[in-house]
Every structure is written in structure tokens, then in C-alpha cells.
Symmetry: C2
């Protein structure tokens, strides 16, 4: 693991690191924020999964999560959204290939050799940060857009690995959206039964989430027809899933939206990760 | 108007009053809470509409709203849920007739002569409390169960008359529920087109609410199949209606549920009623 940069931030450290990923078969860059509390002991960690076209950097510099993480004493991890490099398959479209891993393990070529983001997030990078940082094995997960999809699906599939869950404007129902059908078809093939584990609405019907969860959605989001928040709200309430679904008037899909509610989400995770330790 | 009782409560006054109602053609009893701030000037008012079988009294003594109303400086009005008396039509069922007015103006006999609760709430009792108490013409509205249905439908139909809206476990979609079809049929007749103005899901599609709204629903409510919260959550989010829908784990349909979130709802209304006066 190589340190690319470290900056002081709210009395903690915002670092960027690179490592050779076995899961993805390429070098991967990620960011970790350690709050000041990590100087004297291990702290719980909140994973932030980013959306289409993003790297580890976008949320790290624009979401404003560090101030709140420092206040509550949580670490943050910002993974990349896909494998990258000249040897890695790609597509000219912004929403397929590099920058668009959708947090699945691809089973189809040309994607299969590198696009193993599900394993990368849930296993390889998890082990790496636990081994190398003052981070407790106590995890929350959130994300934005494609990363909201990732957070919801990964947490519901792995309730023993995560203890708090939220999402910003998630792609709620990718099996029924152009943000989803194209990518799941490419990465997993046309047998739609293989897609079910990657759709938060279907997982809400199948398993739900063990705790309560927080969803924020901007009411003026330019991608509402692709995100389909109504499908997740309906599935949550029909399944009596404890949680809060908020439609936030006037907010769009940008980081100005994420930033505006970053404090609420970090506090939500802190309330759940810091109790009963 | 006759004063039946007045009790000191959180440095304000909880009163119960009776008057001869023109709309309902019978004596009607209602309760008003005036917070201490009303001693020195008029205050905004939060209407609380109660559910099936309730009178003005249930929420007045069990919901715990007065403490929060006193803190924020809001008056409270607790109307009855139907006309009452030996001369008033009734039904042996708990969910039709006296105690079950559903906040509509009945057009069918035997209900038509007295069951005019929509007019009673939006006009007659409104005028009465504005004329007789230190209450500003600035109104919020909430309610529980049948009263949540009343609050949602009355507010959406009269956006100029209300400036804040919330509901506890509302009957969300009465045109599709046994809590609704029976009563709307009895009070309004079998032409279902006359029911549309009394269904919060249909009104959400037709008009929505001018502001944001707060809905709380208990996850262990014994009447979830009749309340159908998922239909309202879906309609809210599909229509990009600003607001918050919360599924509260483990709470049932009782006043223990209402009481637990009374503070949140009064604060919600205070935030909206006390600004920009």
C-alpha cells in the first residue's frame, strides 16, 4: 500500500492511498479519513460509495463529510467506483465500464477479469483498511446514486458486516431502469434472475434491512425517472421496514445536495455505530 | 358557547366547550388548549383530528400535546369525530355513524341531516375558535388514523386555509380499504367519483400539498392492512411531494405511539407556523 497524499483535516487526517488489488487485478486508489479520536484508539468506520463517473476523490473534496466525522469520531472510506487502467475494459458511454462498476462481480467478458467491485468493497478493501488504519471492525455504509444502490444492496446482503445504513438519491430499482438494465445485462448477462441481488427494491421484498435506514432524495433531481425513489418508498412501507424516507424540496442530484444532508447522515450512522460497542 | 371545564396545564389553559352547531344540527363538544403565550397575544393553532370511536377527549388526555404546544406557543383544537345525540343517526358498528364521521359532508340519508363534519371543521368550528379565543388565523392540521385521513384530505383541498400538515398512522387510501369504502358508500353513495376528494393518495396525485409534510406510521400497527401506508409513501415520492415518511419500528396504533412522536409533530408545525408571521 502506497501513500499518495495525507492532509490535515478537522484535526484528523485525510489520506489517499494506492494498492495492487487482487480482486480487480489492477492498482486501485482509495481515500480514508481518520478523525482526531483515532489518535488514541480505533474508531468505527462509515463507507461512502460514489456514483457514476466518480473516483475516490469527488466525495472526499465535495461532500463535506469530514467535519461531521470528526465531530462524532467516525472514520470514512471513499473507494473508487471501478477498476481502472489501460488494460481494463471500458466503454465510450459514461455509464458503463470504468467509473461505472455498479458494485457487482461481473460474470461476462470483457468485464469479468477486472470488474469485481462487490468483492473488492466487501472483502479486499475491508480487510486492507482494518489491517492498516485505526479502524474498528464496526461498519456503516452509505452512498450516492449508483453508490446509494451499492450501499443498500451490499448492506442488505451482508447484515452481519454492517450496522448502519443510509443512502443519498440511490438508484432504487435498477432492474427496471435504464440505469441498471444496461449495466446488469453487460456485467451479469441477460438472465435477469442473476440481477435480483443487485436491486434494493427486490432485496427489500426478499430480506429487508435488519435495522432502520435513512434515505434522502432531492425533489428537483434531474434523474428522478432513472432513480425511481417511489419504488423504494413503496417497498419500504409495504414491508414495514423501519426507516425514514425524505423528499427534499428543490435539491438536485449534485454534491450540493449530498453536502446539505451530510451532517444528518453522519449523525445517523454515529448514533448506531457508537452505541453498545 | 358554554364552558364545560377549564384546567391549568403547562401554565396555559385546557378547556372543554359546547355549542349548538348549525352545520351538524346538534350540540357539539370540543376542546381548546391555550398556551401561556396566549395571555399576551394571539397564537397560531394546530388542529388535531381524532380517529374512530374518539371524542374530543381522547387525544386531549392521552396524546401529551400540551407540553409541546406550551413550549412552542401554539394553541390546540380537539374537535369531536362526529355529530352525536339521540336524534342523530347511528349504526351498531364502531366504524360507521357516531364516532366515525370520516370528515365528509354526507349526501345520503339517514346521515345527511347531521353528518357534515367537513363543513364543521373547515368553517363553523374554525370561525368559532377564531372569534372566542386568542387564536391567530394561522392554522396547522394533524390527526391520527381516521383523523390523519381528515387532516391530509382537508389540508390538500384547502391550501389557503392551512400552513402546515402532518399525520399519525393515517387511513391513507380509504377508497381502496374496508376503512373507507363502507363509510364513503354510506355517506356519499355508490358513485365512487364522489369519493376522490376524500382519499389522500388520490389527492396527492391530483393536487399534492403546497408545502412539506410529515407522516409517522408504527411498524407494528395492528391495522396496517387497512391504513395502507405504502400507497401514500409511493404517491408522495412519485409526485416528488416534499416531506418525510417514517416507519417507526415496534409502535402500534395506540396513543402510546401518538404520544411518543407528539413532540416531533408539534415542533414540525411550530417551525412552519411561527415563521414569516
Amino acid at each position: 500500500m502506497e501513500t499518495l497524499s495525507e492532509n490535515r483535516s478537522f484535526e484528523g487526517v485525510q489520506g489517499v492511498y494506492k494498492h495492487a488489488s487482487t480482486a480487480c487485478g489492477c492498482d486501485m486508489t482509495f481515500a480514508v479519513y481518520l478523525p482526531p479520536q483515532a489518535k488514541t484508539g480505533k474508531v468505527p468506520v462509515l463507507w461512502y460509495l460514489s456514483g457514476l463517473t466518480c473516483t475516490h476523490e469527488n466525495a472526499m473534496v465535495k461532500a463535506g463529510l469530514q467535519e461531521h466525522a470528526a465531530e462524532h469520531g467516525l472514520a470514512l472510506v471513499f473507494p473508487d467506483t471501478s477498476p481502472r487502467g489501460d488494460d481494463v475494459a471500458d466503454d465510450d458511454a459514461y455509464d458503463l465500464g470504468q467509473g461505472a462498476g455498479f458494485y457487482v462481480n461481473a460474470t461476462r467478458n470483457p468485464w469479468r477479469p477486472h470488474f469485481q467491485m462487490y468483492d473488492y468493497i466487501t472483502s479486499e478493501l475491508r480487510d486492507l483498511v482494518l489491517a492498516n488504519f485505526a479502524i474498528l471492525d464496526r461498519h456503516g455504509i452509505t452512498g450516492h446514486s449508483m453508490g446509494g444502490h451499492g450501499a443498500l444492496t451490499i448492506a442488505m446482503r451482508n447484515p452481519d458486516m454492517y450496522d448502519s445504513l443510509s443512502a443519498f438519491a440511490p438508484i432504487a430499482n435498477p432492474t427496471q431502469s435504464d440505469w441498471g438494465r444496461k449495466q446488469l445485462s453487460a456485467y451479469l448477462g441477460d438472465d435477469e434472475s442473476s440481477w435480483c441481488q443487485h436491486d434494493s427494491v427486490l432485496l427489500m421484498d426478499d430480506k429487508g434491512w435488519k435495522g432502520d435506514l435513512l434515505i434522502d432524495q432531492g425533489g428537483s433531481d434531474q434523474f428522478l425517472d432513472l432513480l425511481k425513489p417511489e419504488t423504494l418508498a413503496e417497498a419500504m412501507m409495504r414491508n414495514r421496514q423501519p426507516g425514514v424516507f425524505r423528499m427534499q424540496e428543490g435539491y438536485d442530484h449534485s454534491y450540493f445536495f449530498v453536502n446539505s444532508f451530510a451532517g444528518d447522515h453522519v449523525a445517523w450512522h454515529a448514533d448506531r455505530l457508537l452505541q453498545d460497542q
